[in-house]
């Protein structure tokens, strides 16, 4: 039994971010892996889980979510090896500090050495990131510029869009994964969902074909016509 939990979907879930937990649970079940999918709402205790999902949110709710999580045992659980997959505001909350509501600096959870300040422009649009041999495709909508501390590895290199700073996107730090591609990024990138699932399980997972593969190919074609080995191999044109 694998237990996964969405953290504060009532505060962090502006862009359909609940889709990520849904996709991971669905792909696990399709392979016969039993899954328990939990939610922690703002008045709940943090449930015990192998994987926590964090979504995006508006300024006020982001600040509130950070307070609620600071008072929870999330930090201890991550240090004990629990995995975290965070997008957008969730990414910012995990770091040392972030700016909301003007330029007020707000202290984050400090689970990773990154810092986010408010950029001069908002970044709204499709995003495409090279992550190893794969492309990550999605949509970003945020005003943050995130700087990674020394030794913190980015999730990938930005091909299209801004991500952290126009050069790289997100991070991989210990058991934590994060990207600015918000919303159901695991739905658009089935390979990423499976890589996350395999990491949490500690073993490889069987291939699984679904309509999501067609969506991924289409988005790769639209966002990066000639750059993906994966896609070129499948598309003779």
């Amino acid at each position: 039994m694998l237990t996964i939990a969405s953290l504060l979907p009532d505060l962090l879930g502006t862009y359909g971010d609940a889709g990520n937990a849904l996709v991971l649970a669905s792909r696990a079940r399709a392979r016969g892996i039993s899954i328990e999918l939990l939610e922690m709402r703002r008045d709940d205790e943090l449930p015990e889980a192998s994987l926590y999902f964090m979504g995006g949110g508006e300024d006020g709710p982001q600040r509130l979510a950070c307070e609620v999580l600071r008072a929870s045992s999330l930090g201890a659980r991550v240090r004990d090896g629990a995995n975290v997959f965070a997008v957008c505001a969730g990414l910012q909350i995990l770091g040392q500090h972030f700016s909301v509501e003007g330029d007020d600096e707000f202290t984050g959870l400090g689970l990773v050495d990154i810092a986010t300040r408010r950029g001069t422009t908002r970044s709204v649009g499709d995003i495409c990131v090279q992550v190893g041999d794969h492309l990550l495709v999605g949509f970003e909508n945020h005003g943050g510029v995130t700087t990674l501390g020394e030794g913190v590895r980015a999730l990938g290199d930005v091909r299209n869009g801004r991500g952290n700073d126009g050069v790289v996107d997100g991070f991989r730090a210990g058991t934590m994964w994060a990207t600015y591609a918000h919303g159901p990024v695991l739905a658009q990138n089935p390979w990423l969902a499976d890589e996350l699932l395999a990491t949490v399980l500690g073993e490889d997972v069987e291939p699984l074909s679904s309509v999501a593969d067609l969506l991924y190919e289409e988005r790769c074609r639209v966002l990066s016509p000639h750059s993906s080995f994966e896609v070129r191999r499948k598309d003779p044109h």
Binding site: T14, G16, L22, F139, Q188, V211, L215
Partner: protein, 393 residues
């Protein structure tokens, strides 16, 4: 004025759009205060909010009776307003107004009544954050004079936040099931508690108690009981009608007479209408954001009939279809959904993860021919395509 009319004619002659916005845009360049001068001396009602703008505007226009100037084509920014005011010089005006433009349009038109329906996530790639809209409304409304009456939804904390400093406000207690965007207090960010009686925050911000309009049972507006028997479907349209009638009271309409005219409306700009396409009857529903989509899903009867859904992601739709994951499509389990539109793969993936059976339609020829009527949900530009493609029954 001739320039505006000329541009409208030119636009129609060139087959570009319905010939309303192009004229207005040229008009605004010619005279920036054109909208203000066109509104002088007229009784103006503005309608804004995420969902129900077009329908509520149509219900007010119908309920008012007689000749009413209105932007019935859905062009809800100043260019469309100018076009509507030029087209019809009558003294009574009701304008659907884009949420982001409400402050500017209030300043220009000095409305008698402003109707604030609701605020929820919609096209976030364009509006960014719902709360910014609420803040902008709040600043604009606080600057209103007492001659303007704000008719506002008391069950939407974001609307109440925007309207509570209005010099003159009428609170409407109407069904507002979507709460996902008002979980934290717009005033202090603490958690808002909801129960059957309403909502409140520990900071004291709470649902207003001086309610002019209520809909928990028969509709009551300022003490009058009104028997709603609407021709448009759904509880959300009862809320729209309640707010339309509340606005009509403020412009002096006889409410029983207005009610008869409101009840008689059965289709609004093609929405809720049953049309014919290749011999099949198709019920067209415009569903373009999570709160609106869920409200429309509830109008589906029981059973396992197939459903058609068409999703695009043009500018008018919002470029980001992530919102599909905020819609509780699980209610469609047991049915087959035919996925249409340019983002049909996003839709099909979403539905497949909700365990709903899907068929991806790459070519309209693949759609089944049948005597049975079918319900089609479509977002903005997809809806327009289907309206054009189909014919009245």
């Amino acid at each position: 004025m001739m320039a505006v009319r000329g541009a409208n004619w030119a636009s129609r002659a060139a087959h570009r759009g319905a010939g309303t916005v192009a004229g207005g845009q040229i008009g605004l360049k010619i005279a920036p205060d054109l909208l203000a001068s066109l509104a002088v001396g007229r009784t103006v009602v503005l309608v804004s909010g995420t969902n129900g703008k077009t329908t509520t505007t149509a219900l007010i226009a119908a309920g008012w009776g007689g000749d009413v100037a209105s932007n019935t084509t859905g062009a809800n920014m100043p260019a469309g307003h100018v076009a509507a005011l030029v087209r019809d010089r009558t003294g009574r005006v009701v304008l659907e107004t884009d949420e982001a433009w409400l402050g500017d349009v209030m300043t220009a038109t000095q409305p008698k009544v402003v109707v604030l329906l609701n605020l929820s996530r919609d096209q976030l790639d364009r509006a960014n954050e719902v709360r910014r809209i609420a803040e902008r409304w709040r600043a604009a409304i606080a600057a209103l004079g007492s001659a303007t009456i704000v008719v506002a939804n008391a069950n939407d904390p974001l609307v109440v936040y925007a309207a509570c400093d209005a010099p003159n406000v009428r609170w409407c207690d109407v069904p507002t099931p979507w709460r996902a965007d008002a979980q934290s207090c717009p005033r202090c960010t603490l958690a808002i508690d909801y129960d059957v009686a309403g909502w409140r925050c520990a900071c004291g911000f709470a649902k207003p108690t001086d309610l002019t309009t209520s809909l928990d049972g028969p509709l009551r507006v300022a003490g009058q009981t009104l028997e709603l028997a609407l021709g448009v479907p759904g509880v959300f349209n009862e809320a729209n009608a309640a707010m339309a009638l509340s606005a009509l009271r403020e412009v002096g309409s006889d409410l029983q007479d207005a009610l008869q005219r409101v009840n008689a409306v059965s289709t609004v700009a093609g929405r809720f209408s049953v049309r014919t396409w290749r011999g099949r009857r198709v019920r067209l529903l415009l569903a373009k954001n999570p709160a609106g989509f869920e409200a429309l899903l509830w109008t589906l009867g029981p059973g396992d009939d197939d459903v058609w859904i068409a999703i695009n992601a043009h500018l008018a739709d919002g470029h980001d279809p992530s919102w599909l994951y905020d819609v509780a499509f699980e209610t469609l389990r047991g049915r087959t959904v035919w996925c249409l539109g340019e983002r049909r793969l996003d839709l099909a993936t979403r539905l497949a993860y909700a365990d709903v059976s899907v068929k991806v339609v790459d070519d309209l020829e693949q759609l089944p021919v049948s005597e049975e009527p079918v319900t089609l949900f479509a977002n903005y530009t997809a809806f327009s395509e289907w309206l054009e493609r189909s014919t009245p029954c």
